[in-house]
């Protein structure tokens, strides 16, 4: 094979490999450091959120290490084996190839599979297994581009609602005025009041398209599928004002579908509820 006239210059000099290795190492370091400077999660305000944060922090550390290791080796190889030169045989026996294949499999099984399961179990239990005693029950109904919050009132029973009775201005939830439970029900547009330190169970219902009830501070996110009665449960641990946002694309006003949460003492919540207009 005559050395083809058009082959690129054999040794382009040390410039490019050094630059490339530097780029890989720099990008790895910057990414890992960037998590502290720019990647701060909203301060936690719910009990089960602590275990979700634990999973995320565990993953940040685990993937951070693997990430630095990978880029470090890549940069070293790029520098060490640039250009021609005496190298020794690059061929590896089948045994070494299988051994080196086992390393990532074991690391991933232990680190990813094992770690995620073990660290993730408490969150799973708190979110799906535990049934809170004496929870504060509220219903949040999602419709195109607002959250309707429906409080059961003193009797703890939600008034029955039917789709035919929905009228946007007067009765957006479609509550049935003849149902006795409706008498003490209260509904508001996007005002959710939660007692601090008491577990809350939120019934989730959508009237038109899929929405998703999310409050980052509480680490809560749950889709509202029309035709289904969804639920989510958590326990707010810090009083204050929070915002409800919609996480599932639901149309033009998806970005404006904002609700307000105020976590207060139980007494303040009851007092606020008492001076709201009843449903009818």
């Amino acid at each position: 094979m005559s050395s083809s006239p058009a082959a690129p210059a054999a040794a382009p000099g040390r410039g490019l490999p050094v630059l490339l290795a530097l780029a890989f190492v720099a990008c790895a370091l910057l990414i890992v450091l960037g998590v502290w400077t720019h990647g701060r999660m909203p301060t936690l305000a719910s009990r089960h959120g602590a275990s979700i944060d634990a999973v995320i922090r565990y993953l940040l550390v685990a993937t951070g290490i693997l990430f630095l290791l990978g880029h470090g080796v890549l940069a070293f190889f790029v520098l060490r084996y640039a250009g021609a030169g005496e190298r020794g045989s690059p061929h590896a026996s089948a045994r070494t190839e299988w051994r080196w294949a086992l390393v990532p499999v074991l690391v991933m099984c232990v680190l990813a599979e094992g770690g995620v399961l073990i660290v993730g179990l408490p969150a799973f239990r708190q979110l799906y297994v535990d049934t809170p005693a004496d929870p504060w029950v509220v219903e949040v109904v999602g419709k195109q581009f607002e959250w309707l919050v429906h409080y059961p009132g003193a009797d703890g029973m939600f008034g029955e609602s039917r789709a035919e009775l929905v009228s946007d201005a007067r009765n957006p939830l479609g509550l049935d005025r003849k149902d006795p439970n409706v008498k003490d029900d209260v509904w508001t547009r996007g005002q959710l009041r939660l007692p601090v330190g008491r577990p809350v169970v939120i019934r989730l219902r959508a009237l038109d398209v899929i929405h998703s009830f999310t409050v980052p501070e509480f680490r809560v996110k749950q889709d509202l599928i029309p035709g289904f009665l969804g639920r989510t449960q958590f326990e707010p641990t810090r009083a204050g004002k929070y915002e409800i946002a919609c996480a599932e694309l639901c149309g033009l006003g998806h970005y404006r579908m904002r609700g307000f949460i105020e976590v207060q003492e139980q007494s303040e919540v009851d007092e606020w509820l008492s001076d709201q207009d009843p449903a009818f």
Partner: protein
């Protein structure tokens, strides 16, 4: 010469787009036409008007800081008169009528539609204005006409629509502010009216003849009655609505 012939079908295509306007009715003299006047009443105890909860948009809440807006869907005055009932002649009118040139205006002021019920003619231009400091999203749920769903930033130019079919009480609402919703009645002819605060309405310049009047309220249903209008005469009628 040939290219001009080519453009003719093209022009015809363009002109046919606008609504066919028939012979304009000659301006009637006073004694040749009658007037229908009447009152819409609400039976039973007037429902309490809930405070409109504008919590979900602080900017709107701001606009009503002093006196909160009350729900306007069922407006009953102290003598039982029902406002915002759209009354129109549903049978007995023949011929085509040129739509008025000035547009029907629907204003969004104080995160609320004004007027609450709007009457307009087929072919008349509907102008939707946003005089609020807040973005609104005008969503019409027209069934017979072409529905539209547009966002309107505060201070942006007015939206304009023309309807080519009759549709009584087409809902137009703002998807962002759930409490904002208005009802538009589109009829072929100019013989319609919306009852005032005391429930009264008046349909002038009616050619003599026998007509069916339909009164529709956004939440309390529809009532019909037939009247006979004599030349130069005035006919009184009334409708009564009740909560289902």
């Amino acid at each position: 010469m040939k290219p001009i012939l080519l453009t003719l079908p093209f022009l015809a295509l363009l002109t046919s787009h606008t609504v066919p306007t028939g012979p304009a009715a000659a301006a009637p003299r006073g004694d040749e036409v009658g007037i229908v006047r009447g009152k819409a009443a609400f039976q039973g105890e007037a429902p309490r008007r809930r405070k409109v909860d504008m919590g979900s948009d602080p900017a709107c809440h701001q606009l009503h800081a002093d006196e909160p807006l009350r729900d306007e869907s069922i407006l009953v005055d102290d003598k039982g008169g029902l406002a915002n009932v759209f009354v129109y002649v549903s049978k007995g009118i023949e011929g085509k009528f040129t739509p008025p040139t000035e547009p029907a205006v629907l204003d969004q002021k104080g995160c609320c539609y004004a007027p609450h019920v709007l009457g307009m003619q087929v072919g008349q231009k509907l102008v939707i204005r946003n005089s609020d400091p807040v973005t609104h999203n005008v969503h019409s749920f027209a069934k017979k006409n072409k529905a539209f769903n547009q966002s309107q930033q505060s201070g942006s130019k007015d939206l304009e629509h023309v309807f080519d079919k009759e549709e009584v009480l087409m809902q137009v609402k703002c998807d962002i502010h759930g409490w904002m919703s208005t009802y538009v009645g589109v009829v072929e002819h100019p013989f319609f009216a919306v009852t005032k605060a005391d429930g009264s309405f008046e349909i002038p310049k009616l050619p003599p003849g026998e007509y069916t009047l339909t009164a529709k309220h956004e939440a309390l249903g529809t009532q019909k009655t037939t009247v006979t209008v004599a030349a130069g005469g005035t006919v009184e009628t009334s409708f009564s609505f009740a909560e289902q």
